[in-house]
């Protein structure tokens, strides 16, 4: 059976959409339920900075912003990941009263948002969203490999 690239791509556009278009609506709904738990669980735990394109300078050791490797697995969630990362940058309060001073890796004093996640909140927020993205890639591949429902019923 040839691999169904459209199903894979649809699954990457939105979780469960590949299965939905194959007629596997029950599976698609369950996939979405799991995805929403992981994705919004991560955002609930770590805040909007759980999904970000770049690591801020204070966390890289060089003092410069770097590409955030954790965004790669998170990008498996598709446009949702990019929209969340873009929206997250605007959601973090950066007003004068929202900033606190920190010591940067080079010893100078910098400022970050008071709502920056640290420690386990940052870890788990990032991890939840990363696993949601990775699982969605696996789900999308499954949609590409899945035979049509009629064919499976005839074969069973």
């Amino acid at each position: 059976m040839p691999f169904r690239w459209p199903s894979l791509l649809l699954g990457l556009v939105f979780p469960g959409l590949g299965h939905w278009m194959l007629g596997e609506k029950g599976r698609a709904i369950r996939v979405v339920a799991g995805f929403l738990l992981l994705w919004f669980g991560g955002l609930l735990i770590g805040g909007p900075m759980s999904v970000a394109f770049r690591s801020p300078g204070y966390s890289t050791g060089t003092g410069l912003e770097e590409r955030r490797l954790w965004f790669l697995p998170q990008a498996g969630a598709g446009p949702i990941a990019f929209a969340t990362a873009a929206l997250g940058e605007r959601l973090v309060p950066m007003g004068e009263d929202d900033l606190i001073e920190i010591t940067l890796p080079d010893g100078s004093v910098g400022t970050i948002s008071r709502d920056t996640p640290i420690g386990h909140a940052a870890d788990f927020g990032t991890l939840f969203c990363a696993l949601a993205g990775l699982m969605n890639v696996a789900v999308a591949i499954d949609a590409g490999r899945r035979p049509e429902p009629e064919r499976r019923r005839a074969g069973s």
């Binding site: 339920a33 805040g47 709502d115 920056t116 939840f128 696993l131 699982m135 789900v139």
Partner: protein, 86 residues
């Protein structure tokens, strides 16, 4: 700073969840549940069995974590101290 944010003052999805630093272990079952929900959604033959399969997988993984924790605890706290030094 984050962990001391009062729960009532917490703004969900804007601020990190307070109390995670000291209670992070409770997040593991939730994480496992989410993974199991997605994994079993594509693995079960009949979706009617999905809730049961998810519950079983969560139980298995949590038990595996507990087993690893107990094993490592015994290794570090019991076995390593009785090993001859030097």
């Amino acid at each position: 700073m984050i962990a001391t944010t009062p729960l009532l003052a917490w703004i969900p999805f804007i601020q990190p969840m307070p109390g995670v630093q000291s209670h992070w272990l409770w997040l593991l079952p939730v994480l496992i549940l989410g993974i199991a929900m997605m994994y079993k959604a594509i693995r079960v033959e009949h979706v009617d069995r999905w809730p049961r399969e998810v519950a079983i997988m969560v139980g298995q993984v949590v038990l595996a974590f507990i087993g690893l924790a107990v094993g490592l605890f015994l290794l570090v706290q019991v076995i390593v101290p009785i090993l001859p030094a030097g």
